[in-house]
Symmetry: C2
Subunit: 300 residues, 2 copies
């Protein structure tokens, strides 16, 4: 079943020891789509400026992403300038952000899209996430992601959202920041008490913890020897997770474990290239092959 994703569509400028790339297609919604598209039709909700390269539009269309609700406004596309140091590829250092058209963005969604059953609120201002959620017509499965900036400055909106979603995806540092707990199991339980039935804590190279009332599980990350650019790994992960669940049409333990495995495999491809260099050309058979290796790697 189809899936709507709201998030940023950005031009990323990324510096690592492996190179410096400018104006790469990025943003939470774009990375999410690149992995979710492998499982289901994805409808992107976002905003771009007049400087947004036509080739990125063509690219998104060529990948089957529905961009009906990707609106274009006068002004500049959101830009992120970031850097990763070799000794800590888990941590992005933000050099600059140019908000551009994201300022005062009010999401819009086409009538037919508002009735779609699956929704993911990728990382963007929680007020914008709330607005879109209110435009939707009772979606069955709603996922949410956020980040340190919103935990610090939009806590109220974020806490309200947490009561309205089924699945909350967050990285470990941010989850600790939000709950004030250190122990990850305590963190997961505290997040669960804040609202969402399902909690997914991403631990970067250490993998992921899934927690809900009836069961929990954890998978390590797929071991990648040559990490090139981790930007968007979390969004790629979320795209695989929500994409698979949307396709499966059910949210039980078996589907969830499989969804997290897909998500883990997809995130490992993402970090192997700059921007979407690796995920853009992916096919499901290649994801399956890596999942097979992943399962061999983690099977008790």
């Amino acid at each position: 079943m189809s899936l709507v994703v709201l998030g940023t569509v950005a031009l990323d400028n990324i510096k690592t020891s492996k190179g410096h790339h400018r104006a790469l297609l990025g943003g939470s919604a774009a990375h999410f789509c690149m992995s979710a598209r492998l499982f289901t039709k994805v409808h992107m909700v976002g905003i771009i400026g007049e400087d947004f390269p036509k080739k990125h539009i063509r690219f998104l269309r060529s990948k089957g992403v529905d961009i009906t609700s990707l609106i274009s406004r006068q002004g500049k596309t959101f830009q992120w300038h970031g850097e990763y140091k070799d000794h800590d590829l888990n941590t992005a250092i933000t050099l600059a952000t140019e908000i551009g058209v994201l300022m005062n963005y009010r999401p819009q969604v086409a009538a037919h899209q508002s009735r779609l059953p699956n929704l993911f609120l990728a990382n963007i201002d929680p007020d914008v996430q709330l607005r879109l959620l209110r435009l939707m017509d009772r979606p069955k499965l709603v996922g949410l992601d956020s980040m340190n900036l919103w935990i610090a400055h939009r806590k109220k909106a974020l806490r309200l959202l947490m009561k309205m979603v089924n699945l909350f995806v967050l990285n470990d540092g941010e989850a600790r920041q939000l709950t004030g707990e250190t122990n990850l199991l305590k963190v997961a339980k505290a997040l669960r008490r804040m609202g969402p039935q399902m909690v997914v804590i991403k631990k970067g190279e250490h993998g992921v913890l899934f927690y809900c009332d009836r069961f929990m599980f954890t998978f390590p990350a797929y071991p990648v020897e040559h990490v090139v650019d981790p930007t968007g790994a979390g969004d790629t992960f979320a795209g695989g997770l929500m994409g698979y669940l949307s396709k499966a049409g059910r949210v039980n333990e078996t589907a969830l474990r499989k969804a997290v495995l897909y998500a883990t495999a997809l995130a490992s491809f993402n970090v192997e290239g700059f921007g979407m260099a690796k995920t853009a050309t992916l096919t499901l058979p290649r994801v399956h092959a890596r999942m097979k290796k992943l399962i061999k790697f983690i099977m008790p």
Copy 2:
């Protein structure tokens, strides 16, 4: 088949937010024994001073540990004074160490013990580890552990030892220190090139990576909500690993995966109490019950 372990036997003084305990039985050999004893007969090689409490001797004997080669010398038992802060229970802060009888310790081993097939060189000065290894009569399986102090100050002896052992167990920070690599897969490969056929990198709360030429695998740690005292978790892990392999009498992929699962389950008990409070009373059925939970937790 029986197992010989060389390591420290210590009196530990441990401070955490949960309390301050003095003169607890500790040390790498003691923690190792407390978990390996569940699988096989363990022969402890180490040294204590005249201040070593009789109750600890009785305790070790009552747990079936053979202490024929635990020698007592004039002087003080090795003491460790350490602290853990709540926000980072992975990192022990050493407040003080009193070397005592460990200074100029020359390990001894009884004739019948020198012919035993399994040997673990737990954390102690590499020169002492080399001495014991040379006293042994061609053991079939030799494991090795070390620490930052020896990597910094006894690198030559450690590198020599690495060429003489089958299995090398090290924590991730120390493994990075020794190899100069950051990426864990590169770290594992670099350690492999230094000699040992099998490399086990312990990642604390993030679990463990096993690497050898033919296969590799990783398991997350068992999630412990109330971590009381992590002292000896790595030694408890190694005791489970070597204990199970010694009992199994074979070192193939199936046995290794099972050994690492046992080791992981055992380490999780260790951190739940001060010193050996939790591991001292363990029975195999309780370890099995936790392993069952662990497998459910990590099964793809």
